[in-house]
C-alpha cells in the first residue's frame, strides 16, 4: 500500500522483468516449470567427498552449464577428521543464507528498494549425541536455526522487515527446511 517515490532507477542486479516474463510463460505452459536439480557426490577419503553440479532438467529439456561447480565437504578436527571443507550441515546453513539473501535482493528490486549492504548470519544448534546414536530423544538434525540479517537499504525498518518476510515466504530452502519432504534413497 506504500509507494516509493523513485528518483533514480533501483539496481540490485536482479532482472525482475525476466522473472515476471517467466511467470507469464509458465502460466501458458506449466509443464515447462517442472525442474529437476541434481548433484553428484564422489567419495574421496574418510569423511571427505566432492559434489559436482552442472546439468539440470528444466524448460522441458536437460540444461548444461558452461562450467561445472564443486562443493567439497568434510568433518572438523574435533571429530578426528582432516577438516578439508565445511560439514554438510554447514552447507545446509549456507544454502539457507544464500537463498534468503538472494530472495531479499529480488524482492527489493521488485519493490523498487535500493540495497546498499546486506549480510545474514546463520546459526544452527545441533546436539551431536543424536548422530552418535547416544540418545533416542535427541534428533540428528538441527534443533533450531536462527538467521540474523543486517540490511542497509533506502527503506523504512518495516519495509526492510517486509522484504525479509517475503523472501522467506518464497524461499525454496526455507521451505525445504521447515516442511517435511519425502526422501527416497536407493542403491544401484
Amino acid at each position: 500500500m506504500q509507494q516509493n517515490v523513485i528518483t533514480k532507477p533501483v539496481s540490485n542486479g536482479v532482472n525482475t522483468e525476466a522473472l515476471i516474463g517467466a511467470r507469464g510463460a509458465f502460466e501458458q505452459m506449466p509443464e515447462a516449470a517442472a525442474f529437476t536439480f541434481r548433484s553428484t557426490c564422489d567419495w574421496n577419503e574418510g569423511t571427505n567427498n566432492t559434489n559436482t553440479i552442472n546439468g539440470f532438467f528444466g524448460l522441458g529439456e536437460n540444461q548444461e552449464r558452461k562450467q561445472t561447480f564443486r562443493i567439497d565437504s568434510d568433518h572438523p578436527e574435533v571429530f578426528a577428521a582432516a577438516d578439508r571443507a565445511p560439514t554438510p550441515p554447514e552447507i545446509v546453513l549456507a544454502a539457507l543464507a544464500s537463498c534468503l539473501t538472494g530472495g531479499v535482493a529480488a524482492v527489493a528490486q521488485h519493490r523498487g528498494i535500493q540495497l546498499h549492504k546486506m549480510r545474514a548470519v546463520v546459526e544452527g544448534d545441533l546436539d551431536v549425541r543424536g548422530i552418535l546414536g547416544m540418545d533416542q530423544e535427541v534428533r540428528n538434525g538441527f534443533s533450531g536455526i536462527r538467521v540474523a540479517f543486517e540490511i542497509d537499504a533506502d527503506a523504512t525498518p518495516d519495509e526492510i522487515r517486509a522484504l525479509v518476510a517475503q523472501s522467506q515466504k518464497r524461499s525454496a530452502v526455507f521451505d525445504i527446511l521447515t516442511n517435511p519432504t519425502n526422501v527416497n534413497v536407493t542403491v544401484a
Binding site: M1, A165, K169, F174, D175, L177, P180
Partner: protein, 411 residues
Amino acid sequence: MTYIGTIIIGAGQAGLAMSRCLSDRGIRHVLLERGEIANSWSHERWDSLRLLTPNWQSRLPGFGYDGPDPDGFMSMPEIVGYLRDYARASDAPVEERTRVLSVTASAGGYEIQTNRGAWRCDTLVLASGACNLASVPALSAQVPPGIEQINALGYRNPGQLAPGGVLVVGASATGVQLAAEIRAAGHEVTLAAGEHIRVPRQYRGRDIQWWLEVTGVHATRTDEVDDLRRARGVPSLQLAGSHEQPFCDLGWLIAMGVEVTGRLGAIRDGVALFSGGLANHCALSDLKMNRLLDTIDAWAETCNLPGIGPAERFAPTPCPSAPRLTMPLGDGRIRTILWATGFRPDHSWLQLPVFDRKGALQHHEGRVAPGLYVLGLPFQRRRNSALLDGVGHDAAAIADDILFQRGRSAA
C-alpha cells in the same frame, strides 16, 4: 420446458440482489433455489456464527438494516430472516426446492435441468455461493482411522465432538473462532496456523469494517492490485462478529490455552508434521496489519474526523519460540481433526468449457461467457464482492450489462 429470458441460480444475498437489480430495470426473470431462501446460512453454518460485518453495513440494492442495533452482528437466524424480508420486499420470483442438476448450452442460450423440470433462458446468472464445498487438503487421506474428521461445513457446536483433544487446521476467521469455542468447551486444542491476517475488531474507536470502507479498501477494483489471483485467495481476516474481544488472533488463543503451531505439512506413519515457519507467518501477519493501520492513520490525518481515538500500535503476535513440529495421531490424545482450510464454490453441474486447468470458473469481473454471469465470488469485481455489502454493486453492473446486451440483440 419452460422458457424465460433470464434465470438466476441461487436465492442467497447474491441471487436476491441480482433479482432486485433486474426488477428495477424491468427484466423478467426467475430464481431457482435448491432449498429455501438463504439456504446456506440456514443449513451449512455453525450455530454460534455471526456475520463479520456490522448490521449497518448489510446494505443490499434497495434494502438496508433499520433495526435497533446497527453496530451489532447478525446471527444465522437473523441473517436468514433479513434475506427473507428482502425477498418479500423485492417481490423476488423464487422457485424454492428446485435443485439444478445440469446446465448446458442450447441454441444461443442455456438449458437447465432441475429436479422439477427443465428451463431454457438466454441469460443465466450463477449466484449459488462461494462456499459450497470445504477445501480439505489431500493429506487428510493419511489421517489414521479412529480419528474423527470434520470440516467447517459439517461443524455445528462442540457438543458434536468426541471428548478429548482437537486439532484445528487453519487460522482464518473460521479456524480461530472454532478453536476458541472448542477450547472454551473444555477440549485440549492445537491450532495449525499457516498464512493468516490479524486485525483489531475496533481501531481508534470505530469498527475495522468502517475503516475498510471509508479508506476505500473494500472498494478496491481488480485492476488496482498487482496479483489478482493472490488477492482472490487471501485468507479471511481473523475476526468474529462480536465486540467482546479486541482481537481474535493467535495471541488471544494462546492466552486461552490453545497450543498454536505451524502449518500442517504432512502426515507420515501416523504422525502429523508441522511447518517450522510459524514465526514468519506471524511476522507477515503483524506487518500486514501495521500496513493497514498506516493506511488508516494516513487517511484519518487528511480528514480531521471528530470523535476518532488516537493512533495505536499493538504488541507483535506472541509467537511461541519453539512450536511443536510433530504430533502422534495414534496415542489417543487427539480425537478429532477439524479442517478449517477454506471453501470453494460447487459448479459441478455446469457442463460448459468455462473452467481453468485447476477447475476454477474463469470469469472477468463476473462475465463468464456470452449471456453467462457469476455473482458473489471473492474479489470478483471489488475487494468486498463476496460480502453482503459488496454484492449489490456487482449485481447492478451485471444487470446493466444484461440490459445493454439485450438492447444490442434487439437492434
